[in-house]
């Protein structure tokens, strides 16, 4: 019972932060989903492409992201994602929330 709870909390913590991290990568410039996954993994955030893709679709449908098709020499055409203006605003508000939370959490845990 306790084990399930821990898992649940961990995944809930991860969920919100994951979206923030993805937006952070895309706001730097056009990005390909599997490259995003690689960058997250290298930074220590484990993410499956099966979770990443639905998130991107949801963000796109919310109007925060757009994509364009890019022909690829090695395989099928790829979807490259960029951020829209509303996406940028959304990201900035998330960023300020994150900073507040991070400093708060930092303060609390350091005490």
């Amino acid at each position: 019972m306790t084990a399930i709870n821990t898992d649940n909390i961990q995944s809930q913590m991860k969920k919100g932060v994951l979206e923030f991290c993805i937006l952070s990568i895309i706001q730097r410039g056009e990005a390909y989903p599997s490259d995003i996954a690689v960058e997250l993994k290298e930074s220590g955030m484990q993410v499956l492409e099966g979770t990443l893709y639905p998130l991107l679709t949801r963000l796109k449908n919310a109007g925060y992201l757009e994509y364009r098709w890019v022909e690829s020499t090695t395989g099928p055409p790829r979807k490259y994602f960029t951020m829209t203006k509303t996406g940028k605003q959304f990201y900035l508000s998330l960023e300020s929330t994150w900073k507040e939370m991070a400093t708060a959490v930092h303060k609390i845990t350091k005490r």
Binding site: P33, L48, G50, Y53, N61, P76
Partner: protein
Amino acid sequence: MDKILQINYQNRTLHIEESAYQAFQTYESELQTFFLKEEEGAETFADLQNRMAEILEQKNAMGTIMIKDIQELIATIGRPTDFDENYKAETAQEKKAPVEEKKKLYRNKKDKVIAGVCSGISNYFAIDPIAVRLIFVLFSICNIATLFEFPIGIAAYIILWVLLQPRLLEINVTQKLFRNPKDKVLGGVCSGLAHFFNTETWFVRLLFAAPFIIEALTNHNNIFVHHNFISTSFYSFTFICYATLWFIVPLAKSSTDYMLLKREPINISTIQNSTAMSKVLQTSKSGMNAFLKVVAYIILAIIIVVAVPTLFGVLTACFFSYNVLDIILFSTFNKVLGIISICTFIGLPVLGLIIWGIRKIGGYKSPHKGLRIAFSTAWVLGFISIFILGFNLMKEMNTYANVVERMPINITSDTLFIQSLNPNVEINENVVFNWNPMNHLMERKEKTNEIHAVHLNYEQSEDSNFVVKI
């Protein structure tokens, strides 16, 4: 060592081990059922399929895809249970649900043309959606065409669209009508129908081709001049039937479609058999080719209907009017040559067209070696005989043309009267022309030849006497 399969995934040709392919198929269907539960999921699933194709192609470039590669692919993308902790519980609930739940009418989200109303109805009655769609379309067309009043069919559709809840419905029929891309002449309609009604393909094709064949055999006149009402309506009926089925019935694309077409149970071992289909699917892609093919076949049908009876008529005419041959070709050797030439240049094309038609309806693909040899020898023989015949005729013509005979006529008066024995004589300005086309041009009597076609020319003679020159 595992069997290696060549598959076509997302338009990519891949080489994959049998066990790896099985694993991949189950994994893909797992993802599909997970993502297609939501409206947005279809796009995500398509993206993932695209991504998997990319990964598989990279692996394929390094050699045959093995089970290890599929495991790596699953590790990067993840299983549905990894995305959602509650997934297992949900599926368990869904599995229980249909037993308790009363059967209700829904719109089908999974298999739809407009809103999935027809598909939902067919699912409710457990029949092929095509049947419901066909009835609906025909009803709507009749409704609009005849009554020209309130479109009941369309209105009913819209009402059901609004009222019914959308839901992903599983296929609950063991067989569906598909067009068969593997065995087709035009659109694979006949083959699909044959599988559906469990008969032979050639039989269905013959049914569709029958009006054209009957027309070709019975009508010796030009089809454009003599329109037989019954046969014309038969044509158009079969033609419209075929065209409608072509547009409404979907082409069997996936291996699942294929299983439903062939009434085979869907499992992995049957899916493997369908890997050969990938090639066929690639060729059936181009719509332009199909269109050109249709045009070609229509032209061909006209040619067969018009040309075959005509050529056949010429052939029979040649044999029955033996007298014509008698006049032109004097020796028996030349007659034999003449008959061979006629057979080759008129009879062979007719025979060829008939054999081609039979083979096409029968669905024979491979060229027949014996037939090819027989036809080429016949052609060679025909050419040889016509050359010899031509040479002989030229020789004969030359000898006969050079005979000139002078016959002086002793007449004391200075005027020559010419009187014809035949009353039907046409007299032109300076030519007397005795032309009797229905009789033979020449008759051979015991020792003399009687010529019926006489050509008289008046010219000034060299001296003052009258001379007949033959």
